[in-house]
C-alpha cells in the first residue's frame, strides 16, 4: 500500500509522518497535578507500546505539574490545551514536547500566534486538533449537506489555523479532524489528505463505550489507514487508556502495519461441519499462549474444508475432524491427534519451534 507523503514532524524522539511507522498515542486519565498517578499511568502505557502521551492542562496548576511529568516520563508529552492560550505557553515553558490546540475554542488570535512563535523557537510541535463539536454547520441545511459541510468546515478551520502558524514560522504541525460519527471523520481526513502535506493524527472523537468505540475506531481509523492516510493514531474510549493502546495496536496489526508481538491466532467460526469443541480449544490455546513472544501464525480450524489450506498459510495449525484433529506444520500434516489432546499437541509443537 502506498502511504500518503507528508512532511516529518518531531515529537520528542518520535517522528510523525515523513514515512515513519504509524505511531500509537493515548491520553492520561488522571489529574495531571497528581504527578505520581500520572507518571504511573504513563509508564504502564509505555509498557504496552504507547509511543506518545497527552495530558490535559486545564489549569495553571496542571501546567506547573507538567514539568515534573515531562522529566519523569519515558514518552514524549503533549499538553492538551483549550480556551486559554496561556496554558499552552505555560506547557511549553514546562518542557512539553508538543501542545495540542483547538482553534474552535482558542479564540484569542494574538495569543495563539504567540504560542506558534514560542513553539517554533523552542522546536516543539503543535497539533491543530479540530473536533466536530467546536464547529457548527450552517443552519437550514439538510442532514447530508450538513455532514458534508461539517467535514469541510472542520478542514477550513484547521487550514486557516495552519496558515497563521506558518506565518509565525511554526511548521512542525500535525492536524486532526475528529468527528463523533465515522462518515464525517473519514470525509474530513480524506479532504485534508488532498489539501496539505501535514502529518495526520487519526481518531474518532467521543467514540463511546469500549465495544462501540472499538468498532467505530476500527472502521474509521482502519479505512483511512487502508487508503494510505494517517501518521499517528489515538483510539478514544470511555474506559482505561490501556484498552485504547491495545485497540490501536490491534487496528495497526490487522492492516499489517506494525509487527505482531507474539503469535497471531486465526480460527474458523465453526459450523455444522465442526466435530471438535473449537471455541473451547481456541480459548485454551489463547490463554496458554499469553506471554509467548514467538512471531507465529497459529491456525485453529474446525474441519477440513479450509483447514489444511488455511493452516498451510500459518506456521502451525490444527484442522479438526470428528473427535480428532490433524496437527499441521507449515502446511504439511505432521500427525493425527486425539480430540482431547489437541491443545497439548499444538502447544508442544509451538514450543519446539524457533
Amino acid at each position: 500500500m502506498q502511504r500518503r507523503k507528508t512532511r516529518a514532524v518531531q515529537c520528542g524522539a518520535v517522528t510523525i509522518g515523513g514515512g515513519a511507522p504509524v505511531s500509537v498515542q493515548s491520553m492520561t486519565k488522571t489529574h495531571t497535578e497528581d504527578t505520581r498517578a500520572t507518571l504511573q499511568q504513563i509508564r504502564e502505557l509505555a509498557d504496552l507500546g504507547c509511543e506518545i502521551i497527552r495530558c490535559a492542562v486545564p489549569t495553571r496548576a496542571a501546567a506547573g505539574a507538567l514539568e515534573q511529568v515531562v522529566k519523569g516520563s519515558p514518552l514524549p508529552v503533549v499538553a492538551d490545551c483549550h480556551f486559554d492560550y496561556r496554558l499552552a505557553l505555560a506547557s511549553l515553558e514546562a518542557g512539553a514536547h508538543g501542545v495540542r490546540v483547538n482553534p474552535g475554542n482558542m479564540s484569542e488570535e494574538a495569543g495563539l500566534r504567540e504560542v506558534f512563535r514560542t513553539a517554533a523557537l523552542e522546536g516543539r510541535k503543535v497539533r491543530i486538533g479540530v473536533n466536530s463539536g467546536s464547529v457548527r454547520p450552517r443552519s437550514g441545511m439538510n442532514v447530508q449537506a450538513a455532514e458534508d459541510d461539517l467535514a469541510e468546515l472542520m478542514l477550513r478551520s484547521a487550514l486557516e489555523c495552519c496558515a497563521a502558524a506558518e506565518s509565525e514560522g511554526c511548521t512542525s504541525l500535525v492536524l486532526s479532524l475528529k468527528a463523533s460519527d465515522v462518515p464525517t471523520t473519514i470525509r474530513a481526513y480524506r479532504s485534508a489528505a488532498e489539501a496539505c502535506d501535514y502529518p495526520l493524527h487519526l481518531g474518532v472523537t467521543a467514540a463511546g463505550p469500549p465495544q462501540l468505540s472499538l468498532v467505530k475506531s476500527a472502521v474509521g481509523i482502519g479505512t483511512l489507514l487502508a487508503e494510505g492516510i494517517g501518521d499517528t493514531i489515538r483510539v478514544s474510549m470511555t474506559g482505561p487508556p490501556h484498552d485504547e493502546v491495545e485497540a490501536a495496536f490491534s487496528i495497526l496489526r490487522a492492516l499489517g502495519m506494525r509487527p505482531q508481538a507474539g503469535p497471531e491466532i486465526i480460527s474458523c467460526p465453526t459450523c455444522g461441519r465442526c466435530g471438535v469443541d473449537l471455541v473451547e480449544l481456541v480459548q485454551e490455546v489463547s490463554r496458554r499462549l499469553k506471554g509467548c513472544k514467538k512471531d507465529l501464525k497459529v491456525a485453529i480450524m474446525g474441519c477440513i474444508v479450509n483447514g489444511p489450506g488455511e493452516a498451510a498459510e500459518a506456521d502451525v495449525g490444527i484442522a479438526g475432524g470428528k473427535d480428532f484433529g490433524y496437527l499441521l506444520r507449515r502446511g504439511k500434516k505432521a500427525r493425527k491427534v486425539d480430540g482431547s489432546q489437541l491443545a497439548d499437541a499444538l502447544l508442544d509443537e509451538i514450543d519446539s519451534m524457533d
Copy 2:
C-alpha cells in the same frame, strides 16, 4: 457515499446488490441434521436482525435435513457445500434458496456445471465463494508479491467459475473473496469491484476469537463499505453466531448504513479535566437504556471542552463539571444537575422526549 453499481440477485425475499441495503448474514453452528436446534438458532438470529442464513451441508444426511430447515426458517437458507457437487444438487432439490460453492475444492467441472444449470432452472442464486485457503500463490515469491498474487489468484479463480456459470445460463451470482488477513481481503475485493458487476459478499475468513475478529472484520469490511464496495456481509467469529450478527450491524451503523435500533451513546474518553465518574455514568446509562427503542443520539461528556459542542450534535446530553453537570437538550443548556443525579436527570429527559 456512492455505492458500486451491481446487478441485483435474489435470495428468497432478500435482494442482494442492485442498490438494496447491505444485508447481514450469518451461519448456523449447529449440526444441520439436528433440525430442531438449527431452526431454534435461525429464529434467534432472525430476532437479532439477521437476514440470510447459511447452513453447512457436509453430508447427504445434512442435505436431506435441509428440506425441513428451509420449510421452518423465517430467513432464506443458503447451503454451504464443498468437495462434492452432488451435495449442492441435493440442497437445491431440498429447496435451498441458494448454494455456496468453492471452486477451489469442487474440482469436478461437469458436476459444477450441472449445479449451475439446476440453479438457473430453479431460479436460485449461487455464491462463488473463494477462500485464500483454497488457492496457492506461486512458489518462490516474496511475501508481498505472494500476497498480491494471492488476491489476484482468488479473483481469477472466482471469475473463471463465474464464466462457467454464465455459460450454463446461471446469472444470479454473488462473489466472495475472503482471506484470513485483512490487506489481502481488501485487495481482492477492490480488484473484484473493478472487474465485474456481481454483488459482493464481504467477510474476513477465519478471523479468530471475538475481540480479534471484531477488529479485523471492522477494518476489512468497514474499509470496503466506506469505499462503496459490498452488498451483503458476514462477520466470522469463533463464538456464537449471535455475536456475529451484532458485530455486523455495529459495523453498518458506524458507517450510517443501517438505522440505529435505539439510542446511540457518544461519550468522551475522559482525561485530567473530568470531574465526574464518567465511566460509571456511561455504564449506568447504557444499562438503563437497554430495550429503549427511541432513535436518539445521547452525548455523555466529561467536561466543557467538547461537551456543549458535541452534546449539541446530539439530541440530549450531559456535559460534566466539577461534581455537577449541565443537562443539554438539542444543544441548549436545559439545567444544572448535581453530580449524583446525572443519570436520573438524563433518563428523565429521554423519557420525556418523543
